[in-house]
């Protein structure tokens, strides 16, 4: 860990009224490392990534970006700094072509004034090139509708787009949860490639196997608190599973289940 973190949350607390969504959470994201964020539903993962991407302001604590403490003015502000979020379902539009999807909201143009138009050739060329760079070779025509692609390929498109537009921190919200084994492998492979490019990746998942496969750092959230934080190799898969299920509860659950049988 020679590199210094690019985005750091220090003792962040987020309250909604009387509810503590996050309590005293500290987390550091380092370029070239994949940080797995684990935890049950309602543990505060969504709130945490919303604080990271500028949708929520921390009630207490600090957000440090590139060594400077700051408050994101808006999600757009965070995006401009290079913090990109890719959600599992929203992000691509099935009935539009790959090229149109890839550049949505940042379309390349040619021509001037009222006759300026979408530069489809450029959009299609770059979109295809980026897809192929991340191992999607089956797709040969960027005029193809995104809806014809598999879930994994769509995820690659969304991540590739964030990368192309200069992401420095990439937040992946359950990118593999709706995918089959092969499809997940494509996405996990891509994440390793993204890590090689020196991007700080946040990987939110329910799947301990996927987390173990690519993760460098791990944070387990339980009830809005960091229950455990460790590096690759410090914890076994069983221990990880136990942590994700809420610590000692898992062992108790097994005892209960046996009692039922």
């Amino acid at each position: 860990m020679s590199q210094s973190p690019i985005l750091e949350l220090k003792n962040v607390t987020k309250r909604f009224g009387n509810t503590h969504a996050l309590s005293d959470v500290s987390i550091a994201l380092t370029p070239g490392r994949i940080h797995c964020l684990l935890g049950d539903n309602g543990a505060g993962k969504s709130t945490l990534i919303k604080v990271m991407s500028g949708y929520h302001h921390a009630t207490d604590g600090q957000v440090v970006f590139d060594g400077e403490q700051l408050t994101f003015a808006s999600p757009r502000h965070a995006r401009q700094l290079g913090i990109a979020t890719v959600h599992q379902d929203v992000g691509t539009i099935p009935l539009m072509t790959i090229g149109r999807n890839f550049f949505l909201g940042a379309e390349p143009k040619k021509g001037f004034g009222p006759f300026s138009q979408l530069d489809k050739a450029k959009a299609n060329g770059i979109a295809l090139e980026q897809m192929q760079r991340f191992g999607i070779t089956r797709v040969k025509d960027a005029e193809q509708l995104v809806g014809t692609m598999s879930g994994g390929e769509r995820q690659v498109l969304a991540i590739g787009r964030a990368m192309y537009f200069g992401a420095r921190v990439l937040i992946l919200d359950e990118p593999t949860s709706a995918l089959g084994v092969k499809e997940s492998a494509i996405v996990l492979k891509m994440m390793k490639q993204v890590r090689e490019d020196g991007i700080a990746v946040v990987f939110i998942t329910h799947n301990a196997r996927h987390a173990m496969a690519v993760g460098d750092d791990f944070s387990v959230l339980i009830h809005g608190k960091v229950a455990a934080q460790f590096e690759r190799g410090e914890v076994s898969r069983d221990e990880l599973l136990n942590l994700m299920a809420g610590g000692e509860d898992m062992a108790q659950l097994e005892v209960d289940l046996e009692a039922v049988e």
Partner: protein, 323 residues
């Protein structure tokens, strides 16, 4: 072949060809295929077509506009009241009518975007509000709800010029198609239209100003409806609050027959243009057969049903793997 089946406009083209051939064969001796017969259905298609293009773009962006019908009538009454009752010249009234059309669109757009209510209901309400206001104000000012328009030669030329039997509205229609084709398939704004109707959240997430896209399109339909009102008014030398009530449903019908998905996000201007031509062919073709015009409705209804079925099939085909 499968590639062709995936195009949204394929259905409209096939239906147009079959219908045209049907009338061409069965009414050949009556002159349906002649110059006059052709101009006849084009005249009829043109006025509807001018509104159908922006309505198509709006529907691709995921919204309806049922207020177009009353805007057509209101625009014609603006000309009538201004020129006859107040004695003003027609050109400023034409500008006023167009501005009013856009203002109605702006109001529709703002309400839909701010409240998040379905545009179907919002614009249906607008339709009644506008026609009611038009009739009420007309009666208040002139004691009637239809009135003659004092038309200048220049206005006559621009909005109701004729070459033999052909109305100049055909040129306006072609212009609307050209602009629609350009905007939807070539411009960045066109990309935003597809995205807004295809997946609102994703479009917003990618930084597309979805609210602005919708409002601009509502204003475009209002503008086009006012333009049609002006064309009708100048053509007939009179304004009438009820002009254009037929368009309320005819426009969405040709848009859907043209291959635009009712749920938005998919469709082409070319398909809508062909479907509008199809509407013209059916509406005039029936006359050449000598049958009762009652059959027009049945024909349109059957086509609409077939189109909706075909569209959902096309959508499935479009989303199937490979090419």
């Amino acid at each position: 072949m499968t590639r062709l089946l995936r195009r949204p406009e394929t259905g409209a083209i096939v239906a147009f060809l079959l219908t045209y051939l049907f009338f061409a064969i069965f009414t050949y001796t009556n002159g349906f295929v002649s110059w006059n017969g052709t101009v006849g259905w084009m005249n009829l298609a043109a006025e509807l077509g001018i509104v159908a293009v922006p309505v198509a773009l709006l529907m691709i962006a995921g919204e309806f506009d049922l207020s177009i019908g009353s805007t057509v009538g209101a625009a014609s009454m603006v000309l009538a009241i201004g020129t006859t009752h107040m004695g003003l010249t027609i050109w400023p009234m034409i500008v006023l009518a167009l501005v009013m059309g856009m203002a109605i669109g702006l109001a529709n757009g703002l309400v839909v975007v701010r409240t998040g209510l379905p545009s179907f209901i919002v614009t249906l309400a607008t339709n009644f509000i506008v026609i009611g206001a038009t009739m009420g104000l007309s009666r208040l000012l002139t004691n009637v709800t239809s009135s003659s328009i004092a038309v200048s030669d220049s206005a006559k030329l621009v909005f109701a010029g004729r070459w033999e039997q052909a109305n100049i509205s055909i040129l306006w229609w072609l212009l609307a198609i050209a602009i629609g084709l350009w905007v939807l398939s070539r411009t960045v704004f066109g990309n935003w239209i597809y995205a807004t109707g295809g997946n609102l959240q994703a479009a917003r997430g990618a930084g597309v100003p979805v609210e602005r896209v919708k409002i601009i399109l509502f204003m475009a339909t209002g503008f086009a409806a006012a333009l049609v009102g002006i064309i009708l008014g100048v053509q007939w030398n009179s304004g009438n609050a009820t002009y254009g009530m037929g368009y309320v449903f005819q426009a969405p019908i040709v848009v859907v027959i043209g291959g635009v998905l009712l749920s938005g996000g998919y469709g082409t201007v070319g398909g809508v243009a062909v479907a509008t031509a199809l509407f013209g062919v059916i509406s005039t073709g029936i006359f050449y057969t000598g049958w009762s015009t009652d059959w027009i409705q049945l024909f349109l209804g059957a086509l609409l049903g077939a189109a909706v079925l075909a569209n959902s099939y096309v959508r499935k085909m479009a989303l199937m793997g490979g090419r």
